[in-house]
Structures are given as structure tokens and as C-alpha cells.
Symmetry: C2
Subunit: 310 residues, 2 copies
């Protein structure tokens, strides 16, 4: 079972209260791929300009990421984004956003990828996301991401897409916007009625909530004293999640829950460095250790507390 | 081992986007006691006016709450509060606050309560909270609550109190205010340095984080589709927490974690009705069922996901 991701590849310039980084490797498909590659091979579909250096291609390939689907536009420039985080690291402001070659991105899925078992459609225009689905031979387990911009701009196309996918991952604020609900549980339930079997609402430092056919499950984030840079944490979360699913080759609720836990762990590593540095520093033993700590943190044991009778 | 609570007894008038209630039984000591009484007997210390009806005294006693420490001021009026919730139920505005007999409350701890094993000091002036500690013969496991007002107004008295207690429960926003930190983990660690062995930061619908000598543990809240009225949820949380601790007669970290889980469950019942109605409707089987569901929700099983090697 393989895992295909379609999304952006970018250079990010990021300012936080404690420091900054220029032209760091970023973009949804990059953050997703690097996180998912901690579990198994990934096939990346994206677009870059001629300015995308060979050593960045090499970095991805060294991590088991197939870049046969990474189109290079001759004479083109790679997507560049810059942003600034506020003191609490929960809010950020986009300073510049030059889509460059990503603006006209029409993903062409290589023939060898069209029978994949798992597909992640990174944040992008819903019609573009739909065009990828239409190119698949198989019916992969498909998860999509979206954002405020598309909910405002292309609502009907997005709703149409939601009828054709297995899972949606989005921020809590986006869930409120999409449904006009003020309560997350009601919002998540409403989105499930639009089609996806699983809806996963990300709440940043507050964890994530999974909506499924029998109800809801909330999992916390790992408490972090040092959030260096949260850029890409959402895509790293999705990458860890889909990487774990693909590795277990299961898509039942229990597998989704464990996968969300793995997404939580990979996202926590992402936050530990600028750009992709946090994920690149994560090795197997560090990942495993943090996951075991997380599982233990959530284990309520089996002690029974007797209740009063009245 | 008994459990003593010192705090307010009040009549609350509450407006939410979906309805309202007038002069409902409330106050920190009431919400705490009713929640804790689901686990075992509680001894309440507070003050009311002559307007506090006999059937309210009776309601508390019927729940196993000893009201020998509930002082009635002849000719006095009971504390009255009114407030209004905004659409998202996360924010509220105080409309009126008449402290009445609570303004000059000087808690007198009945002799029979002074050897208690567990003590909860509901939100109030730190000097008043300290005066309770000074009346105890024993050294009970003591948890205090506080709020923005006291952090602003009586910071040094509060910090002095924190040096003498075992645990502090407060909202995340209050933790930021008390420490001038913007990151919850750093804030919690800083508060622990002020004295309490355990700091429990409440995050409302996002759950709670426990700070202890070896680190931090986050637990989510139970996802709720219908939040009727969150008034008293924080005190119900503390009541379930301390009730569970007293019942298990343990104060080690594992017991604290299970107790926070029970606090989470009791708080979820509190949110299900106006004033104390939600807690009054909770019976043993409903509590047990919700706790088992919560424990299962957090159980990540033992499936190992193999990680990639590179």
C-alpha cells in the first residue's frame, strides 16, 4: 500500500518572537511528506521552479520520498511565503505570499501513483483537489485539508468534493466557518453529513477531535514548553496520521485514533524547530519514546473509584 | 478521611443564548459539594442570609453534605450573582454581583472539621483562605482555587498562600496572568515553583493540564454537543477531583490523574443543565458509564506501528 500526497512545495520566511529563518523548505506537501516518511515511503506530487536547488530534491529522496511527481517549471519560481507569529504563537500574520509556479498548478498524477491505497490532498482549490481524485484508477482512502480562503471562495466546490472523500482534516475555526455552528461537536457532526466518514478537527495546542459514525473522540496535544515554530504543524500532523494508517493498512476507527495520536507526536516534533528542522531531527527512538510517554499519559489505569449512593 | 470545602453559597441568575434561569442555587461551595458528594460525604463551610430557604438546606443534606458549617446571618441576604453567556459559551459577562453576607465572610471552621484529610478553599480573598488553613489541627491535602481579581488585587497574599498548599486549580488565562508567561507549560512550571506540588490548569472545553514534579499531563474534556450552562463547571470539576481523591485516600500522581478524569466527568454533567440541575441529574450509573466511555476514548491500545529507518 503506497501513500500519495498532492500539495504545495515552498520556501518560507518565518519570524517568531524569539528568532527568524529565511527561505526555509516548506509547503504542505513537504511537511506532510517528511512526517509521513517517518513511517514508510511517500510519493509527492507538486510543482517548483528552476530555483529549487538539487540538494532539496536530494533531501526529500534521502527520506524515502519519491519526487517523480514533483514537476519543475523551466524558468519558473517556487512558491514563497513569509509570515510572523505573535507572542502566544497561536496567531500569525501572513506578510507576503507569492504563489509563482503554484498559481497555475494542474497536478498530473504519474501513472505509477494512480493505484495508491492512501491519498492526501493538501490545502488547495477544491476543483484542483477534485481533479486529482478523477485521475485515480483505484478508490484510495482519501483525506483532504482545506482552509478559510476556500470555504469563503469556493464553498460549493468544496462541499461537492466532501461528498467524494473519506476524511477531512481542518482547524476548529474552519469547522465553525464551514458550518456556521459555534459548538465544535455540532460543527463536526454537520460536516460528516456532507460526506466524510471521518472529520478531524485540529485545535493546535489543545489537541484534536475525531468525528466518526458513533460519536466523537478528543485527544490532547502533548504539552510543549518550547514551541520554536508551528509552521507546518498541521501538515506534519496529517503526515504522521496518514503515515501511520498506511503502515497499519487499516482505516477502522481504532486505527484512526492511533493514527491521530501519531499525528500529534509528529506535529510536536515539527514545532521544535524552524521550518522542517524539527521533523528532520526526529529519529525512530525519539518518536517511539514520545509516543510511549503520550500513551502512558492518557492511560487511566483500571482503579475503580466507588461512588456514593443517594 | 473527610472532605471540607470553604466557599461561596449564592443565588445565580443566568442568561444563555438558548434560555435563562432566575435565582438558581449556586456558588463555589455548592457546586463543589454537590459534585464531591457523588463520591462521599462533604462538610461545607459558608455563609447565607435568612432568605436562604429551608428546602435548599435540605437539598444539600439529602446529598450527604453536612451543613453544620453553613452560617446563617439573621436579617442578612444571600450572595446574588447574575451573568450572561455569549454565543460560543466560552465567554461570559457579569451583569450584577451583590456579595451581601459573603462580603464580610470570616469562615469559622467547626471543631469537628479541623482534623479533615482533604480541604478545598474555593475562590476568595487569599487572606481569608489562609485564615482557614490556620484553623486546621491536621495538615490536610489542601487545594485552592483563585481568580483574576485576586491575582490583580492581592498578589502577594496569594503567593504567600501558595507556599502553604498542596495544589492550585486555576484557569489557563489566570495562569498566564499570574506568571506573565504566554506558554501554558512554562506558566504551570513557574507556579509550581511558588509552592504547590500539583498545579491544575483548566482549559474549559479543551480539558486540563496537570503540572507535577516530573512534568506535565494533558487530559481532554469530553466533547459535548449541548452545553446548557457552564456556570459552576470549574467548581464541579474541583469537586469531582477532590471527591475522587478523598474516596481513594491517595494523593500520588496516578491518583491525581484519575481524579482529574473524574473532575472532567462531573464538570460535563454540570454543563448539561442550568445551575446545579445537571449535577443533580447525574446518578451513579450515568457517571460510571461516562467515565468508562472517557477511559476507552483515551485508551491507545497496544498496537505497535513500525517506523521507517533512514
Amino acid at each position: 500500500m503506497s501513500l500519495v500526497v498532492v500539495g504545495s512545495v515552498a520556501f518560507d520566511s518565518i519570524e517568531t518572537p524569539d528568532g527568524s529563518v529565511q527561505n526555509a523548505l516548506g509547503g504542505s506537501a513537504v511537511h506532510f511528506s517528511l512526517a509521513a516518511s517517518l513511517f514508510g515511503p511517500v510519493q509527492l506530487v507538486g510543482v517548483v521552479g528552476e530555483d529549487f536547488p538539487e540538494d532539496r530534491h536530494q533531501l526529500l529522496r534521502n527520506r524515502g520520498i519519491c519526487t517523480a511527481g514533483l514537476e519543475v517549471i523551466p524558468g519558473g519560481e517556487t512558491f514563497r511565503w513569509s509570515g510572523k507569529y505573535f507572542d502566544d504563537m497561536d496567531q500569525r500574520e501572513t506578510l507576503t505570499c507569492d504563489l509563482n509556479v503554484f498559481e497555475k498548478f494542474k497536478p498530473e498524477i504519474p501513472a505509477a501513483y494512480r493505484d495508491t491505497g492512501f491519498l492526501f490532498l493538501g490545502n488547495g482549490a477544491p476543483v484542483t483537489q477534485s481533479s486529482v481524485l478523477n485521475q485515480m484508477n483505484s478508490a484510495p482512502f482519501t483525506m483532504v485539508d482545506t482552509m478559510n480562503f476556500w470555504i469563503h471562495q469556493d464553498r460549493s466546490e468544496l462541499v461537492e468534493l466532501l461528498g467524494k472523500v473519506d476524511a477531512l482534516v481542518l482547524n476548529d475555526e474552519e469547522a465553525y466557518l464551514l458550518t456556521q455552528e459555534k459548538n465544535l461537536v455540532r460543527a463536526g457532526r454537520k460536516i460528516r453529513e456532507m460526506g466524510p466518514r471521518f472529520v478531524i478537527a485540529k485545535k493546535g495546542q489543545h489537541g484534536a477531535t475525531i468525528f466518526h459514525e458513533d460519536g466523537e473522540m478528543a485527544l490532547p496535544a502533548l504539552p510543549l514548553a518550547d514551541v520554536v515554530d508551528p509552521t507546518g504543524a498541521g501538515d506534519s500532523f496529517a503526515g504522521g496520521l496518514m503515515g501511520s494508517l498506511q503502515r497499519s493498512n487499516r482505516t477502522d476507527l481504532e486505527a484512526i485514533k492511533v493514527a491521530v495520536a501519531w499525528g500529534t507526536i509528529t506535529a510536536s516534533f515539527c514545532c521544535g524547530g524552524y521550518g522542517v528542522d524539527g521533523i528532520l531531527e526526529a529519529d525512530r527512538s525519539a518518536l517511539r519514546e514520545r509516543f510511549d510517554h503520550y500513551r502512558k499519559m492518557l492511560d487511566l489505569g483500571s482503579v475503580e473509584i466507588p461512588l456514593a449512593s443517594h
